[in-house]
């Protein structure tokens, strides 16, 4: 039996959960575990994407305390039902829960999966390394279940024509006695435009922009294109943009139709997160920048000249 940890927010499964279910059902029978307030509302979508059964626990502790209550309940359920494999989305919470759980159970934790296959009766996990230039296949050697963290966007979510999932509701209060990391409040930072994960077009900036103030040029370009704004690691490390916008190995994987890299050299760290884009456009001063080896269209030039002209040009064409 393959299990999928179905991370939900207010009863909505995270997109990566439906992506994973779609893949998991091609590998065997699938069940899901959904924890937190509203989790039972997620059961319909989980069933539609291939879960035959959903374990649901609605306790608010799963929402309010990081990882530990989920780890306790998952460990109990795993002991009881002995799944062969547990798949998690590689999200902030997914990673915390899976890593704690692997230490608790003494099991394998294989991260950054972008594909899974049946191999010699077990499951082999494929992950990209070195900026996606190499793919390594890893198998678990420890006792079951292997825990696997799957990168978002590795698979495309598709509903199956299955029966509705059977729901098993759990009610025993989760263990929270240990020192807990508790969420005191949630702050939303207003961002214009679509989320990186959902955007058809992404405009992404790197060190070549010269300074944080020059990002406004990209914000403007993104607004004209209805695009989301992303950033390279160099820019996030320098504090110009928050980590949530970082695209790359350390950061998000995106697969937009069009990716416009501005002042980004194309270090491996970055390219692993964006080389799945359908079309890549690069603007960079350095003709040797590795990003030009990936780009469908590359412009060698000063971003401070090319980008303003591009914005002007888009505006002019819109007026026509």
């Amino acid at each position: 039996m393959i299990w999928v940890f179905a991370e939900t927010v207010d009863g909505e499964p995270q997109p990566v959960v439906l992506e994973i279910l779609t893949k998991a059902r091609s590998l065997g029978e699938v069940e899901a575990v959904a924890l937190g307030p509203g989790a039972s509302r997620a059961a319909a979508a989980l069933g539609a994407h291939g879960a035959g059964k959903v374990y649901v626990h609605e306790d608010p502790a799963f929402r309010d305390i990081l990882a530990v209550p989920a780890v306790e309940v998952l460990a109990q359920l795993i002991e009881q039902h002995q799944p062969e494999l547990v798949l998690f989305g590689m999200t902030y919470d997914g990673r915390d829960i899976a890593s704690r759980l692997s230490a608790k159970l003494g099991t394998a934790l294989i991260a950054n999966a972008t594909d899974l296959e049946r191999k010699d009766g077990g499951i082999a996990v494929i992950s990209p390394v070195f900026g996606g230039t190499l793919l390594v296949t890893t198998v678990a050697r420890a006792k079951a279940p292997a825990l696997v963290l799957v990168r978002p966007k590795a698979f495309t979510a598709e509903a199956a024509n299955g029966a509705a999932a059977q729901i098993e509701t759990l009610t025993a209060p989760p263990e929270t006695g240990r020192a807990a990391a508790r969420v005191l409040r949630r702050e939303k930072e207003q961002a214009a435009g679509p989320r990186l994960e959902d955007a058809g077009v992404i405009v992404s900036g790197g060190r070549g922009l010269g300074g944080p103030e020059n990002f406004s040029m990209l914000d403007e370009l993104a607004a004209e294109l209805g695009a989301a704004v992303g950033a390279s690691r160099a820019v996030v490390d320098a504090g110009w943009k928050p980590y949530a916008l970082q695209i790359g190995q350390t950061g998000k994987t995106v697969k937009p139709l069009v990716y416009i890299a501005v002042g980004i050299s194309g270090a491996m760290q970055h390219t692993v997160g964006m080389k799945g884009a359908k079309t890549i456009i690069a603007i960079n001063r350095d003709p040797e920048a590795p990003i030009f080896k990936l780009a469908d269209l590359g412009v060698i030039g000063d971003v401070h000249k090319v980008v303003p002209q591009l914005i002007q040009e888009i505006r002019a064409r819109k007026r026509k």
Partner: protein
């Protein structure tokens, strides 16, 4: 307060890495190794906390004897002492062995806070911090873009997709930091000189009482194949002679984006 910062020595991330095709191990010979740039933010975060609250920062790493260089770099930034867990049996160890070794190396010592980067730049699984937290029974406050410590509690701003969550726990705790949390300081010349005389304790798995339970005797997973990924083909590259922006606009029009 006593802060422990976990660091890792990695192949220079600016140089394309290679795997040995038969052993499936990272080729380390002839490759420059550096303190993981992500860990510099962890060291900086630790230093800022003790500068404000008193105490000092201990640096711990697991790796080959050469990993001492990474510890020295962190000490030159301002760490007080180091612990290097090194043992031939730990070569190619997985994350759980790393976490078990670090947890054992600090057992019984009065650390208030362990700081790690969110993930290493080379392996990027991000598993070790959560595993250490679980083995110690401590809370994990992850993806911090801000840390504060007061009254026996640690509070962080935890990165989310659309903002941040304010998360608090009692000490001791494990915190992971994102790149944006600070700008890491450069070691001063004086710092570099002083680091040479700072104590770095080297411990083996025998010393930690872990023989047979970590490293190659306890691998939870194995790499069975390495293949080259399909490469993307380069397209047209033009030099901007005053029309570069227009060319991009034309291309976007062809793609029906505008």
């Amino acid at each position: 307060m006593n802060v422990l910062v976990c660091v890792k020595q990695i192949p220079d991330p600016n140089v394309p890495g290679k795997l040995d095709e038969t052993s499936h191990r990272l080729v380390r010979e002839g490759v420059d190794v550096v303190l993981d740039p992500g860990d510099e933010h962890g060291v900086e975060a630790g230093l800022q906390l003790v500068e404000k609250n008193g105490g000092d920062v201990t640096i711990v790493s697991m790796g080959p004897p050469k990993a001492l260089d990474a510890i020295r770099k962190a000490l030159s930034m301002g760490g007080a002492r180091g612990i290097l867990i090194t043992d031939p049996a730990l070569e190619n160890a997985d994350a759980l062995s790393t976490a078990r070794s670090i947890a054992a190396a600090i057992k019984g010592q009065p650390y208030d806070l362990i700081i790690c980067g969110t993930e290493s730049t080379d392996g990027y699984s991000g598993a070790v911090p959560g595993q250490i937290a679980e083995l110690l029974g401590w809370p994990l406050l992850s993806f911090a873009k801000k840390i504060e410590v007061s009254d026996g509690k640690v509070t962080i701003d935890r990165q989310t997709d659309d903002g941040y969550d304010v998360v608090e726990s009692p000490l001791p705790a494990v915190v992971t930091v994102t790149g944006g949390i600070n700008e890491a300081r450069y070691p001063s010349l004086r710092g570099i000189m002083q680091a040479k005389n700072k104590e770095v304790k080297q411990v083996s798995i025998q010393d930690l009482g872990l023989a047979g339970t970590v490293g190659k005797d306890a691998l939870t997973q194995a790499v069975v194949r390495v293949t080259a990924a399909e490469a993307r083909k380069a397209g047209e590259v033009i030099e901007d002679k005053g029309e570069g922006g227009k060319r991009v606009a034309d291309f976007l029009a062809e793609l029906k984006v505008i």
